[in-house]
Structure formats: structure tokens, C-alpha cells
Symmetry: C2
Subunit: 325 residues, 2 copies
């Protein structure tokens, strides 16, 4: 029997909160085997699942190796837009995990791909409220990005007869997590969206907070996106989770039905909803934004198929079960 509770018997003892329902099941040494048997690819969120800030969550590396040894495909689907796929691959390597760029689907990449599949003209420019990752992905897709970290130190002076000028050729504003947010960027993005005809307003994601450092949560892209909603009175096109826009690219890459995929994440309103929207099995981990008491909230509408403390439970529970057999 494992510390996570649940039974190893023939009945579904793991369905913790709602009797016979097939959701909100605590992952146990019994049902983990069912889960692993039913899935060919695991889609992992990163912040709060693989790492917190720059610190790897305990047991992740061994668990990813274990899943690969079972022949499972691994994919990393992150709403964090501050890095490009290349930068994410480097971050994985620095933490001792080998992940190729092709296995990473970041919302920075999704923003660039959204423009691409919608035939956004390369003659137009893209203003970025967010990190280097978005600018890098835009460049790889053939687009000219403005803003980003470069505008983080710019200031404005509200003086009479001063006119804040913006590029009339900006056809899209991409907003993601931006720790260098300032009034200059807010005015620039607002002017483009309000005054450039047809200018798109694209949000990488709307996560309210995230584990930008290992010890605590910080305002996420949802903060900056909401700020631009507030000033423009417009709603964005969201390309990150829970939007399934990224799933199209993932399906192009891997020839696996979404019903044979499991989305593993720490957020109900992005990760789990994304998995459900796409038709995947879903596994909530409690190592990030969502804590155990959130599961007890009666007003909660989004319910994962399974939940557990952390990713490494997948290996631990499976091996416990094997040892028992």
C-alpha cells in the first residue's frame, strides 16, 4: 500500500471524492497501471509540474526515463512564453534532462504559428509585451518583432504637447508574461490595438499566476493580458492552453490519437481544461498552483480524470504495484 492512499483491490477505491464517477480519482498503485496501459503519449506542463522556477521537482528525471523506457512519447506543452523552444531545450539540458526542440510546444511558438497559419503578412510588424522567447519564435517564423525586453527600460513623461508615437505598420500585438511590464509598453500595445486598423490582439495564455521562482507564485501572463483588455476594451485570441490551437501542431508531429494521450498539469483552468478540450485523459499534479483544498471546493467545475501529488508518483506507484504482484 502506498502513502498516497487508495486501494490495490479490484474495486475502484481510488475514486476519492465522488464514488463511482470516473473523474477526480486519486492515482493509486492500482489505477496507475490502467492509466499507463491506456496512454501512448504523455503531455506535460512544465512550471509546477517538471520544475518550480529553475529547480527541478523531486523525482522528475527518473520518471521521464521510466516512461520513455515503457515506450511512451513525451511532449512538453507550456504556457510560459518567456523562452523559445530552443531555450526550453537548453533549460532541460541544464537540469540534466534530454529533451529535443521538437518535443516542446511553448506558447511563444504557438503565437508565431498562429500568425503563420492565418497568413499574417511578413511586411507587417508584431509588437511584443513579453519575453525574448516570443521574439525568437517570431523571427524563426519570418516575422519582425518590436518591443519585448528592449522596451523594459523605456519611460514615458506625461508632458503637454508630447505625442507618444507608435509604428502604424504593427498588425499584431502579442502579450505574454512580462516581468518588465511598464507604462510605455502598455501605451504602445494599446495604441496599436486601438488605432492600427485590423491589428490583432494575441495572448500567449491567461494564467493568473505561476511558479516563476521555486518558493512562490508571481503574476502570470493573465495579469498583462488583462491589463491590455482593460485599456483596449477588447478580448484577445488565446493561443496557449486551454485553447487547443497547439494540439494541431502536436498531432502533425506525432501520429497518436488524442484519446491515447494524457495531459499532466498543475492548473485546472489551463492544463486540465486543455486536455479535456482535446479529448485526452487528464492527470492533475498538486506540485504547483492547485493545492489539495482546491479539490474540495464545491464550486469547482473542472475535474481531472486522475490527481496525484507529483509526477514521480507515476513511477513510484507503478513499481510499488509491480513489487506487490
Amino acid at each position: 500500500m502506498t502513502a498516497s492512499g487508495g486501494g490495490g483491490g479490484g474495486t475502484n477505491d481510488g475514486a476519492a471524492t465522488n464514488g463511482g464517477d470516473r473523474w477526480d480519482q486519486l492515482l493509486t498503485s492500482y489505477n496507475v497501471k490502467q492509466l499507463l496501459d491506456s496512454v501512448d503519449a504523455f503531455l506535460f506542463d512544465c512550471d509546477g509540474v517538471i520544475w518550480r522556477g529553475d529547480v527541478l521537482i523531486d523525482g522528475v528525471s527518473e520518471t521521464l526515463d521510466f516512461l520513455r523506457s515503457l515506450g511512451k512519447k513525451l511532449v512538453f506543452v507550456t504556457n510560459n512564453s518567456t523562452k523559445s523552444r530552443k531555450q526550453y531545450s537548453q533549460k532541460f539540458h541544464s537540469l540534466g534532462i534530454i529533451v529535443s526542440e521538437d518535443e516542446i510546444f511553448s506558447s511563444s511558438f504557438a503565437a508565431a504559428m498562429y500568425l503563420k497559419v492565418n497568413n499574417f503578412s511578413e511586411e507587417k510588424k508584431v509588437y511584443v509585451i513579453g519575453g525574448e522567447g516570443i521574439l525568437d519564435e517570431l523571427k524563426l517564423a519570418g516575422y519582425t518583432g518590436l518591443g519585448g525586453p528592449d522596451d523594459g527600460k523605456k519611460t514615458v513623461e506625461l508632458k503637454p504637447n508630447c505625442l507618444f508615437d507608435h509604428d502604424k505598420n504593427v498588425g499584431a500585438v502579442v502579450v505574454g508574461l512580462d516581468p518588465n511590464i511598464n507604462y510605455y509598453k502598455l501605451q504602445y500595445g494599446t495604441l496599436c490595438i486601438r488605432e492600427n486598423p485590423g491589428c490583432l490582439f494575441i495572448a500567449t495564455n491567461r494564467d493568473s499566476v505561476g511558479h516563476m521562482t521555486n518558493l512562490q507564485e508571481w503574476p502570470g501572463a493573465g495579469c498583462m493580458v488583462a491589463a491590455i483588455c482593460g485599456s483596449t476594451e477588447k478580448e484577445p485570441i488565446v493561443v496557449g492552453k486551454p485553447s487547443t490551437f497547439m494540439m494541431n501542431f502536436l498531432l502533425q508531429k506525432f501520429n497518436i490519437s488524442t484519446s491515447r494521450m494524457c495531459m499532466v498539469g498543475d492548473r485546472l483552468d489551463t492544463d486540465i481544461l486543455f486536455g479535456q478540450n482535446a479529448g485526452c485523459t487528464t492527470l492533475l499534479v498538486l506540485s504547483g498552483v492547485t493545492n489539495a483544498s482546491a479539490l474540495e471546493d464545491p464550486s469547482r467545475k473542472i475535474r481531472p480524470d486522475y490527481y496525484t501529488n507529483k509526477v514521480s508518483d507515476l513511477k513510484r506507484l507503478f513499481l510499488n504495484d509491480s513489487q506487490q504482484v
Copy 2:
């Protein structure tokens, strides 16, 4: 006949957009007299009505003198929280208009008064995302404010094992227009609201944009307030227009029924809605955020009783009428 159109005859030629309805009436040399006869106090918004940025709108000074000469009370109800009532009085003086502090109802004052009437303990502190005006009004009301302009130059570093600390004794976060908005302030306000039990989230107002300079609009408090909504997933208590919270103080000061008041403003969703919520006559001026084409939008729900180009039309149309008689 005046350049603003409309008729001087006995029929209601000025009802421009909807025939016989009593709203959306273009102010004319005919109906201006009815308006002036029916009103004992004029409530003016400031940005986009009295001035744009630091530049007085043409003819305002003479028109205020004219209204005073008719015995009308004048009150200035502004959502701009960057200044205290004292600072507003000084701004009026610097523009050649004598207005006392008692005639000014700013949302900075409203925020402090909200705490006062709700018996917010003076032992607790208030974190401010916004200008000096809020801190000044809090101090006058006996409260200790933190943040504001002082935190405008603070930066954060998202380093492993660093803990961003906040004062656990903060019992309210007040958010207003903040041209020095940064990630430090966003994290501070977010932590207080999310982690300090019972911490209030107060918005001075939610104006999307405003004439922070005379030549163009800039993101308003609605931008910063939305940012904190985005990170906290909470909705604020709004004390500025269109909330009628400030009206209670105004009624205490002036013994005039709201049906004998006229609210003059440039925003439908704050000024005109405030006037309507309070039972005042409403006059929209097109010298600020709302332009003539916005009046033609069929989805528009908020309709003023009257509209005109600018405040000075009140005097010009009245005198034209008198000259014709």
C-alpha cells in the same frame, strides 16, 4: 441659429437620433434654457471636460464664471486618482480657475472615505498601486499607505530561493491610475490580496483610457485594475464613477436633490452612467474620450439626456438664444 444645429422653435428639433425620446438630445439654443432652469448644481468630470492633460479646454473658464453668475453650484467629480483634492484645487488655480477643495470629489478621496465609512482599522496598512493623491488622502483620513510612487523604481529578480516579502498587516490594496506600474507593485498587491486574510481590493475607477496629455489618450486605471483582477481572479470594490459612492458625500455637502443636478462628462460608462445611477440629468461632451461616431453605434446602451461638443456650449448657446429673443 447656432453652428451646433438644432432649432430655436417650439418643437423638440434637438432630439437628434431618436425622434421624440428624451435622451440623446443635441444641446441647442432652445433646450439649453430648459436645462439651466431645471438644474441647481452642475457636476463636472475634469479630464476631457475641463482640461486635456494640463491644457484647459477652450472657453471653460468663462463658462464656469457664467454658471456661477446664474447662482449654480459647481462640483468637480473626477475619477483621476493621481491627485488629492488639495492638489486638484492647486491645478485649477494654476489654470486661472478658483475652485475650493470642498468642491472637489476625487476618486483618491473616495478610496479613503470608503475605508473610513467601513470602519477600516487604523492599525492596518493600505498598499497603493497609484499616485501620490491616494497616499495623501489616506493620510488625511488617518491611514498608513505603502507603495505608490516610491515603489515605481523597485525591481524584482526571479532568482531561485529568493522570497518576495510583503507586509502581512496590509488590509486593503487600492488600485488607481499608475504610470509607474511595474512587476514589483503587481506582485506586492497580488500577494496582499491573495494571502492576507480579508484584504480588500479597492479600485478608484475602471476608466479604460484617459487624456493624460492634451494630444492623446493613455491607459487609465482600468488597465491597472484589470491587471490585478487577472492575477488575483478577484473583482474590486469600485469607489469612483459609475459607482455612486461619492454621491453620498456630495449630498452631505450640498442640500440639493439629485434631480436638480446635471452630471457633465465625456465618458458614457463612467460619467453618464454615474449621473443616471444617481438620478441626475446628464450632459455628454464630445471633447474627451467619446466622439460623435460613438453616438451612432447601435449597440450603445448608455444614453445621456443631452450631448454637445464642449462645456462652453452651455454659455454660447444660452447667449445666442438670449440675443435672438
